[in-house]
């Protein structure tokens, strides 16, 4: 028996969703819409009965397939579920009952291959729009509170203002704001930002790993403003993530998102989306553009490509649309730039547009080894300068990813919090770097920094006398060496303090803070993050000038 999924029957919405899902599964298995709808109806009836008796009732769907036929098994679990046997036997071939459980079997003709089973699983497990909406509401504590404020607000003008603010709160609360977003991954570097406008705007961005090797990221722009636009954005973003869990093709994901959003879209809202899935080990990227402005690709060396392909209309306007997608390969050093029209349509006080040409110029003038965050800021600064005192008309959103290339080689060391371990780490790292022909000068800089960082952890991170593990991970590519140091000591950001005075006279000279100052100068990048009770320090050393 292969499990297709488990459905809860805990409330009216959940039972209605279960009815629809059973009906769709049965349609596919039996090829008979009328019979399928009957199964949906009996599911709903039994579900309501179980729900009336007690909370926590569930329905588990399974299939058994051998050759050209199979069985669908529907297991209802709940208080006195066995009492539903009679009702079920009218629609099924056989019903097994025991205390708190009734399993109904129905045979079907035809073979099921793995794809078909995966499709059925997706059907059962995927969240409905209502469920997602519920999740968004539950996640958004601020929303309930703000809606209360809104109810109390009297004047129409205050009301409009509050509504815009609430919309803004929902919008901003949905965005991932922690950077570096994926400190464990060294083959890419991603950064995004959203600068909200005073009034209009429903931009969003997102980035998440689908699995060990696939990164999904997107930028979107919802039409409209206020709470409706914010909720539309929240649901769109949640749908993308939910569909991406089962599907790596941006076009298929967008088709499904459009399918959900276009149905019953009475307010006629829509959203433009630029969605990409990147294989972080190979640089292969598939992307689909649904009505969004074209992304820009800055190849290593400075040449800019505008990815002009359009793969379908805006999302949410028309049901049953097919979307296309394109593939390209990111090479180490390439910088991909997703943005919203808030940039090119930024206006100065004379109502001149900033325009794409200005953005292209700044992108072109970037240095090759610039990190995503720096690239992003370098392209936005001129926009703010251009805009001057003119009000910002629309949200400005940028998502920038630099592909660094998969590591050619890695070294992982587990160190103990004893001073002797530093020497061991230094010699292991030297041997590793030497075997890959890394220049002596770079090797020395790296080990100097390791000595500083690890000695610092051993001396200051622990409040007890126990043994602790420090993880040291190095990954080397042709372009750069990435170093990740993790410890479970007290939270401490080594890069937060002001630099020491390096011009004091001999008498007044102190060593405190000098170690981290060295690291910040000898390395090309450094960052600190506290995550799951771990201090995570990430260092990067460029290998080519």
């Amino acid at each position: 028996m292969i499990t297709l999924g488990e459905l809860n029957l805990d409330n009216a919405d959940a039972i209605a969703a279960a009815r629809r899902k059973v009906s769709s599964v049965a349609t596919q298995l039996l090829g008979d819409a009328v019979a399928a709808s009957r199964l949906g109806a009996v599911t709903s009836a039994v579900g309501k009965e179980l729900h009336r008796r007690s909370a926590g009732a569930v329905l588990v769907l399974r299939v058994n397939t051998s050759g050209y036929s199979g069985d669908l098994a529907m297991e209802f679990r709940g208080d006195q579920a066995e009492a539903s046997t009679l009702r079920l036997s009218a629609f099924f071939d056989k019903v097994d009952a025991r205390e708190g459980c009734a399993t109904a079997f129905l045979s079907f003709e035809g073979a099921l291959d793995n794809d078909a089973i995966a499709g059925l699983q997706n059907l059962v497990q995927k969240k409905t729009r209502d469920e997602l909406m519920q999740e968004v509401r539950e996640q958004n504590f601020a929303l309930e509170e703000s809606l209360e404020t809104l109810k109390r607000t009297r004047s129409a003008r205050d009301r409009l203002e509050s509504e815009l603010n609430i919309g803004r709160e929902i919008q901003m609360s949905m965005l991932p704001l922690t950077f570096p977003a994926f400190p464990e991954h060294q083959s890419f570097d991603i950064f995004a930002t959203l600068h909200p406008a005073q009034q209009v705007g429903g931009d969003f961005y997102d980035m998440f790993l689908i699995d060990d090797s696939k990164l999904c990221f997107c930028v979107g722009d919802v039409s409209g403003k206020g709470v409706p636009a914010a909720l539309f954005m929240a649901v769109t973003k949640t749908l993308i993530k939910s569909f991406a869990a089962h599907e790596c093709s941006p076009a298929r994901i967008l088709e499904q998102v459009n399918g959900e959003q276009a149905v019953g879209n009475d307010s006629c809202m829509f959203v433009t989306i630029l969605l990409a899935v990147l294989d972080i080990n190979t640089g292969e990227m598939t992307y689909s553009n649904a009505g969004h402005n074209p992304p820009l690709l800055r190849r290593s060396g400075g040449e800019i490509e505008r990815l002009d392909a359009r793969h379908g209309p805006i999302i949410g306007a028309i049901e049953d649309l097919d979307y296309g997608e394109d593939r390209l390969v990111l090479r180490p050093g390439d910088l991909l730039y997703f943005y919203t029209d808030g940039i090119n349509e930024a206006m100065n006080i004379d109502r001149e547009l900033y325009g794409e040409h200005r953005l292209l110029e700044t992108l072109e003038s970037l240095q090759d080894d610039v990190v995503a965050e720096t690239a992003l800021k370098a392209t936005l600064d001129p926009v703010w300068a251009f805009q001057g005192d003119a009000p910002q008309a629309d949200d400005v959103t940028v998502l920038c990813i630099r592909y660094c290339g998969a590591a050619d080689s890695t070294l992982s060391l587990q160190l103990n919090n004893r001073e002797e371990e530093i020497g061991r780490a230094v010699s292991e790292v030297r041997r590793f770097l030497d075997s890959y022909g890394v220049a002596l000068d770079v090797q020395r800089k790296v080990v100097t920094c390791l000595d500083e960082m690890i000695a610092n952890i051993i001396s200051y991170a622990y409040e007890d006398d126990k043994s602790h593990q420090i993880d040291l991970d190095l990954s080397l590519s042709a372009q750069a060496l990435m170093i990740l140091i993790k410890d479970d000591g007290v939270a401490f950001d080594p890069f937060s303090d002001a630099p020491p005075d390096t011009s004091a006279s001999l008498e007044n000279r102190a060593i405190g803070g000098l170690g981290r100052h060295l690291v910040m100068n000898l390395m090309d990048e450094f960052s600190y993050q506290r995550n799951n009770s771990l201090n995570i320090v990430r260092l990067r050393k460029q290998l080519q000038s």
């Binding site: 800089k445 100097t448 000695a455 000098l514």
Partner: protein, 106 residues
């Protein structure tokens, strides 16, 4: 870390070999202090055979320098050590020489 010393005229030369880091700073510190206790007036630390110097090593040099009445002389810095000295501002508080001979000449 190996340390040898030699008195050449008025200058006491300390030749360090190995890395001057957290693990070796204590040994190097003791050796330099011993030279000062023995009455060294002008100290030249030769770092030709030193791969890298971390802040623990800088502390040792700083402690020695503070005990001297004349500026501490160092020589034989490789590219990385030179950069570490520059970043930490040590180039301005020590006298840095390219070679031991230039360090002796002062």
């Amino acid at each position: 870390m190996e340390i040898t010393s030699e008195q050449i005229g008025a200058v006491t030369v300390a030749r360090l070999s190995g890395d001057l880091d957290t693990g070796t700073a204590a040994i190097a510190g003791e050796a330099l202090m011993a030279l000062l206790d023995d009455g060294a007036q002008t100290l030249l630390v030769n770092l030709e055979a030193v791969g890298f110097v971390s802040s623990a090593g800088l502390r040792v040099l700083l402690t020695a320098a503070k005990r001297l009445s004349s500026k501490l002389r160092v020589c034989g810095l490789n590219e990385t050590v030179q950069e570490v000295f520059d970043i930490s501002g040590f180039t301005s508080i020590f006298d840095v020489y390219d070679s031991e001979q230039l360090g002796l000449d002062g």
